[in-house]
């Protein structure tokens, strides 16, 4: 297969590599950039374990080819906190509110929540549930995740850590 050069900026660092056109973005992130916090859970874009932020929008990186992400800016779970050693308010909420059990869906859940709370400051429980309905969790029954997102909302409000300019949020699904 003819390889193609792509450059993708992940968490502020630009990674350039020759890749097969069929390579999925999630594999570029995991294998080429070596960032294994983004997970693969299904083959069909249902589970959301591979969710990342691409140009401000939460996307499932198993449904995007690396060549489609050429020139784009990606934020993965490893790059969410801009302060080394300090958790992002959404991450902190998931720790404080016990928003995970096995941890496999967590990076996707955290990034979808981050996207949601950037898009809308005040969200209801119903909106939270709708927003994460593309992210499957089999351990928690979602309750502690919903609690975490509500807590994240309070954290963001308190700390004023909205990053709308930095990551423009486009229209949702």
């Amino acid at each position: 297969m003819t390889e193609k050069e792509v450059s993708i900026t992940i968490n502020g660092e630009t990674k350039t590599a020759e890749v097969e056109p069929r390579m999925l973005l999630v594999h570029f992130i995991r294998e080429i950039a070596g960032l294994t916090g983004t997970h693969v859970g299904c083959d069909t874009t249902n589970c959301g374990a591979c969710t990342v932020i691409m140009d401000g929008r939460a996307v499932k990186s198993c449904t995007i080819l690396a060549v489609q992400a050429d020139g784009k800016k990606i934020t993965t779970i490893e790059g969410l906190s801009k302060t080394p050693g300090k958790l992002h308010p959404v991450q902190k909420a998931f720790v404080d509110k016990h928003g995970l059990q096995c941890g496999y869906c967590t990076s996707g859940m955290v990034l979808t929540s981050f996207w949601l709370l950037n898009k809308k400051k005040k969200v209801s429980e119903e909106e939270i549930r709708e927003a994460i309905s593309g992210n499957l969790c089999r351990c928690t029954g979602y309750e502690s995740i919903v609690d975490s997102i509500e807590e994240a909302q309070r954290n963001l409000e308190k700390e004023g850590e909205y990053t709308e300019e930095e990551i423009p949020v486009r229209r949702g699904r």
Binding site: T36, E78, S81, Q91, H98, G99, L100, C102, Y104, S107
Partner: protein, 674 residues
């Protein structure tokens, strides 16, 4: 680092995150037919290279079925769609997948045996068998009663994919002397036992290390053919080998749970007293022995009388071969099936007699500890029921309408006990348990126990993943046993440690403990059942399209001492979601030819956040007599939720519920056009 912090920053170490120099990627050629003869194979690693049969180890293991053991790679015939036939490998995972197409298999398709009830009398699946019946036992004694009320029904709990969000996976490496595997598992000890038995390796020659495990729900207590092929290739090539399951492979070829038919006949008098129960339990065991199929029919039959004092019971427990992947344990593993059959019969009896369902339950509950004719031991269930009804406000719900109530006996897998090790060094404490957490957060209760027993700061206690070099023996994390058995082993190990410190210094103190280096190991042996009671109450509403919304989900459980409240509420919530899933959405469906028509994790019905309510857990406090003082929990909500929810739907729609998942077309049939 705290497990939560690790996970929210993407620093977990799951099996697919391991990349070793020179690593090969493995992919499998799988049968497209449910039943066929193999006339020839060209290419790939086949049974000519690996002529081995699987061992049955772990939860629900069976023995004595040599002729029906699963071949590592198919030999002469295939018995289900997805069965591994050949393996290919490459340095690149994409290329390994490409190579699957280079293997040519010549099949002669045969008529598949799909329906478990028809399989009982169908021609035998394999030459040399007299029938397709894998296990055939009667529990209890046959009886005759003069009963004015006799009701019968037929139930199906369809197969369910275990569907952890992280699929199965393994990395195997060999240094010329020793096989080391990194694996996503519920028990490193089961996996080691599997390798030793199947590949004839000495225990010293195998090390199994658990990676972060992204959910398991029964699946990852098992030992699978793909693991053997990965190890075989690592040993042959002298290079590390990785295999990661895709979700499609998971749905087709990973052992699913449930898949049970119940045919029940209940005898009662007009006052609602149950005089006896007869029936058949038929487990759809799949194409080979070695899963939990053989064990589960008698396990279900044993539990059939539930929390009731029923003096006559006679149950035919049958496990039957079908052309499907072998059945395995899925959270609950036989317990939800037994409760579904019994509770659905009791609700039908109440309807038949125009009685309140709880009144019928109260009449049949026991004031004294009771041992049923099928061998189930139950504590006095009537006082529990009286308290449950009050705590859950049964009467208040009765006035409001669409709700259902169900209760059950939880039979945790206590036997044969569990192991624990505590290592104190460099002012830190490390803990290993014989059963390895895979999403239950054992780290939380481990901290709570050691804070209580040793008076140490929970922050310095680190729960460790499984490693057969660190803990020589162990059982596994399944069957609602971890807090009871693992917790008890840890309490005992902590007490031993205290004694060691006292012996050396005359008096125990935390600073003396942390100043030294200590190593305490305990195998807490336990060989009796230890049952407990639980109840659920659920309210629903329905819309004009027949869709059901679960509004309220209340659990009233006897958990003994709650070691850690976050653990308890998390286990309850996750289990309730799975119970709702089983009732309304989750099932693996097959066409008449034996092809699975469920094609994605969405089709398989794993619930989304929009499909479930908030949960309420009410504690019935009565400490157990075990060192940990805990009772079972993990599976409780998967038992109680489907029975309460099925009844709630029955009340809301007027439709009799006998099958899970409930077919949406059936629900629509109840809806009147406005």
């Amino acid at each position: 680092m705290d497990l939560s912090e690790k996970m929210v920053t993407g620093r977990g170490n799951f099996v697919d995150d391991i990349n070793l120099p020179g690593m090969l990627h493995l992919a499998f050629v799988r049968s497209p037919y449910p039943r066929a003869r193999i006339k020839g194979i060209t290419g790939g690693i086949t049974s000519r290279d690996i002529d081995m049969k699987m061992a049955s180890v772990g939860e629900g293991a069976s023995a004595g079925f040599e002729y029906l053991e699963h071949p590592v790679l198919a030999k002469e015939y295939v018995g289900y769609v997805g069965q591994p036939v050949a393996a290919v490998y490459s340095e690149n995972a994409y290329e390994a997948e490409d190579l699957v197409d280079t293997v040519d298999v010549d099949y002669e398709p045969l008529t598949a045996i799909v329906d478990p009830e028809k399989a009982l009398s169908a021609d035998p699946m394999y030459p040399g068998l007299k029938s397709n019946i894998l296990a055939d036992r009667y529990l209890g004694e046959d009886f005759q009663v003069d009963a004015p009320v006799v009701i019968e029904d037929h139930f199906v709990n369809h197969r369910i994919a275990t569907d952890p969000i992280e699929p199965r996976g393994i990395v195997a490496a060999y240094d010329g002397k020793r096989l080391t595997v990194w694996i996503s598992t519920q028990s490193v000890h089961t996996i080691k036992q599997g390798f030793c038995q199947v590949m004839n390796l000495s225990p010293d020659a195998v090390r199994v290390i658990q990676t972060d495990t992204g959910g398991a729900f029964g699946l990852k207590g098992g030992f699978y053919p793909e693991y053997v092929v990965a190890a075989w290739l690592a040993m042959k090539e002298g290079r590390p080998v990785k295999w990661i399951e895709t979700r499609s492979e998971h749905l087709l070829a990973s052992r699913p749970g449930r898949g049970v038919v119940g045919r029940m006949k209940l005898y009662a008098n007009r006052e609602g007293r149950i005089l006896g129960i007869k029936g058949d339990v038929i487990v759809d065991s799949g194409a080979f022995a070695g899963g939990s199929g053989e064990f589960s029919s008698r396990f279900i039959a044993m539990q059939i009388t539930g929390p009731y004092e029923i003096n006559n019971a006679h149950i035919h427990a049958l496990s039957v071969l079908t052309n499907k992947v072998p059945q395995g344990p899925y959270r609950g593993a036989g317990r939800p099936e037994a409760a579904f059959f019994m509770e659905r019969m009791v609700d039908k009896l109440a309807d038949e007699l125009h009685m309140d369902p709880v009144d019928v339950r109260m009449i049949n509950a026991t004031r004294e500890p009771f041992k049923s004719p099928t061998g189930l031991t139950v504590e006095a269930s009537k006082p529990f029921l009286e308290q449950a009804v009050k705590a859950m406000d049964y009467q208040g719900h009765r006035k409001k309408g669409n709700f259902g109530f169900g209760w059950f006996v939880l039979v945790p897998a206590t036997m044969p006990g569990e192991t624990a090790r505590i290592l104190v060094e460099d002012r830190g404490i490390k803990v290993w348990l014989g059963g390895t957490a895979h999403g239950q957060r054992h780290d939380l209760f481990v901290k709570s126990i050691l804070a209580d027993e040793l008076g140490v700061d929970p922050e310095i206690v680190e729960w460790q993943k499984g490693d057969t070099d660190q803990l020589k023996e162990g059982v596994g994390a399944w069957g609602s046993r971890s807090a009871m058995m693992g917790g008890s082993a840890l309490v005992e190990a902590a007490r031993k440690l205290r004694e060691q410190v006292e012996k050396k210094y005359g008096k125990y103190s935390v600073s003396k403990l942390l100043d030294g280096k200590w190593d305490s190991y305990e195998y807490f042996h336990y060989d009796k059942p230890y049952t407990s009671l639980g109840a659920n109450l659920i309210t629903v509403s329905t819309d004009r399209y027949g869709r059901v919304r679960v509004d309220e989900c209340i659990s009233y459980y006897d958990l003994g001492k709650v070691l850690n409240m976050d653990n308890a509420t998390g286990q309850n919530a996750g289990g309730c979601a799975e119970g709702i899933g089983q009732t309304l959405y989750e099932g693996l469906m097959f066409d008449d030819n034996g092809q699975m028509i469920t094609s994605s994790i969405a089709d398989a019905g794993v619930v989304k956040a929009t499909m479930v309510p908030r949960y309420r857990l009410i504690l019935h406090r009565s400490e157990s007599t075990l060192p940990s003082k805990a009772k079972g929990l993990g599976e409780a909500p998967t038992i109680g939720t489907p029975v309460a929810l099925s009844r709630a739907i029955e009340v809301a729609t007027g439709l009799r519920i006998t099958e899970t998942p409930i077919n949406p077309e059936y629900l629509i049939s109840a809806v009147q056009e406005p």
